[in-house]
Amino acid sequence: MEQKTVVLGVIGSDVHAVGNRILDFAFTQAGFKVINIGVLATQEEFIHSAIETNADALLVSSLYGHGEMDCRGLREKCQETGIGKIIMYVGGNLVVGKQDFESVKERFLAMGFDRVYPPGTLPDTPIEDLRKDLGMTID
């Protein structure tokens, strides 16, 4: 099967680099081609990278609590630039304070993300999900 490509990055003014490295390693080990745009990634960088590399999914991390602000409008921009159907995952400490995760998840799903992960999710979960979403697993 052809190798699938994902764009990985930490969105906004967020400089958390450790989790980014771990995800890069885990997805690469799992057989994906990882385009890691690193920390301080803008929405435009995610989109431009996905266009040039013909990526199958955007993996957005946000650890510093401003995720809601930084992620808003990403799906719309994807639609505008011709990659509107691309798979989008988001995870990390998406909001400030101890908010109920279900309501956080609802908000990000409404923003157009396909899957939303709470803090403490291990890489295996999104890897399995992505295989499913890309039709790579045989049920």
Partner: protein
């Protein structure tokens, strides 16, 4: 004596330099108007005739030339995303010494094709997609380009997976079609060398003939490269050194011309301070930028427009005075300042041209405030520690105060985010030999290097 004849067929002047390989001296330099309409050799011969011939006559061991005549090497580049492969393609073309007329991104439209027809480029550079990445755009653009009414040389430097297919499509209409390595094989990786070589090859095999420059090749051995390419080659040699002969280290060369101001940097430009993050497209070690709106004569009006208030403040002139001066330059582009006031205007204008051209060439640093304090993000090259700034070009050479103009290249504490050299030494290519030394490098790099170190003087 081992005389070598080096010629630069420029857009306006044909410049002849004769050097002696043994004594490593310049035997003579001269220039005459370029005669592309009649026979390119007429101009060269009248320049050559100005240099006193030795009694036994010239016996050149080598005769080499570069050229920016007949519009130079005009290119149009196209890529996918403007900031990514389109920008990479632009840099590849500039690095090959081209005049980049247009850069298109995404799918080419009929309007883009019309622009290509009107501006008549010598070579098209087609990029788009990382290797294994997007393949639709380069194929669609190849289809579009194959509907052009004329045949043009095309260099393909895009997604390698579909390069062959794109070449097949283009080959139906265009010759030659050359495949080079992708200018952006991976996201954020710039790889322009293969495209540069392909462009040079097409230039040598097709463009010289198409421009009628091959007439010169009956007398000369060969037109080796476009002039900007020769200058870049000389700059690289001068920075790096050759064998046991040391170079001058990382440097900037600023060429202030009548129509454009070109900046070349031979420098890595890595962050000079710790904990700075790099963003954006990686920069080529040998980088060339061309500013079409920052010329001192043909584009002086555009320059004044761009410079605006700082220029007026600098001079204390009124708008009318500036307009009067500009109309003088319009009448006679080669006018040399006649009065002290005029010279002041020229210095102010030159300094701003150099300043803006270097501003646009170097990188920037910005502070990003995060919940964990300030972070620094660098885009482009940090040239603050760079120690050598070299000036060249007609305007500087014939100017009474080139140093004052070159100081525009220095870091401005009022604009601390623009990473220009903080405390460089200034040099002048007084004999105007950089292009010639780029040619001489092909024959004897050591001699070319030593001659540059001898003839490029400290200001």
């Amino acid at each position: 004596m081992q005389a070598v004849l080096l010629i630069d067929f420029g857009s306006t002047y044909t410049k002849v330099t004769i050097v002696d390989l043994e004594s490593e001296n310049i035997l003579g330099t001269a220039r005459a108007g370029t005669t592309i309409e009649t026979n390119i050799m007429d101009g060269m011969n009248s320049a050559l005739a100005q240099i006193p011939e030795p009694a036994e006559g010239w016996n050149f061991v080598r005769k080499l030339a570069c050229s920016s005549a007949a519009g130079g090497l005009k290119m149009i580049a196209s890529g996918l995303v403007k900031e990514l492969t389109a920008e990479a393609a632009r840099r590849a073309a500039l690095g090959a010494g081209a005049r980049v007329l247009e850069v298109f991104s995404y799918e080419l439209t009929q309007k883009d094709l019309d622009r290509i027809i009107v501006s008549k480029p010598d070579i098209l550079l087609l990029a788009g997609g990382t290797d294994g990445g997007n393949r639709e755009v380069i194929l669609k653009n190849a289809e579009m380009l194959s509907t052009l009414p004329v045949s043009l040389p095309v260099v393909i430097a895009g997604n390698k997976v579909v390069s062959g297919q794109a070449a097949d499509i283009l080959g139906k209409r265009h010759t030659p079609v050359v495949i080079a390595d992708n200018v952006m094989p991976e996201l954020g990786v710039l790889s322009v060398e293969s495209a540069r070589l392909a462009i040079r090859e097409v230039y040598l095999t097709h463009i010289i003939q198409a421009k009628g420059l091959d007439k010169a090749e009956e007398f000369l051995e060969r037109i080796m490269m476009p002039t900007p390419s020769a200058v870049l080659s000389a700059a690289e040699l001068l920075a790096q050194g050759y064998g046991s002969e040391p170079g001058m280290g990382e440097l900037i060369i600023v060429d202030v011309g009548g129509a454009t101001t070109d900046v070349h940097s031979i420098a890595k430009g890595d962050p000079s301070k710790p904990s700075v993050m790099l963003k954006g497209l990686p920069e080529p070690y040998v980088k060339r930028t061309v500013e079409g709106d920052l010329g001192m004569r043909y584009s002086s009006e555009a320059l004044v427009e761009t410079a605006g208030k700082p220029l007026l403040d600098n001079l204390g002139w009124t708008d009318d005075q500036v307009l009067d001066q500009l109309s003088l330059y319009k009448e006679d582009p080669w006018r040399i300042p006649q009065t002290a006031e005029e010279a002041k205007f020229d210095v102010a204008m030159g300094r701003i041209a150099v300043g803006l051209a270097v501003d646009r060439h170097v990188g920037t640093i910005e502070v990003v405030y995060t919940p964990f304090g300030a972070s620094y993000v660098q885009n482009g090259k940090d040239l603050t520690p760079l120690a050598v700034v070299i000036g060249t070009g007609g305007v500087l050479l014939h100017h009474s105060d080139p140093l004052e103009i070159l100081r525009g290249a220095v870091f401005n504490p009022q604009e601390p985010t623009i990473l220009k050299p903080q405390d460089p030494s200034f040099y002048l290519d007084k004999e105007y030999i950089l292009a010639a030394m780029g040619l001489l490098r092909e024959v004897s790099p050591q001699v070319a290097l030593r001659m540059m170190k001898k003839y490029i003087v400290k200001l």
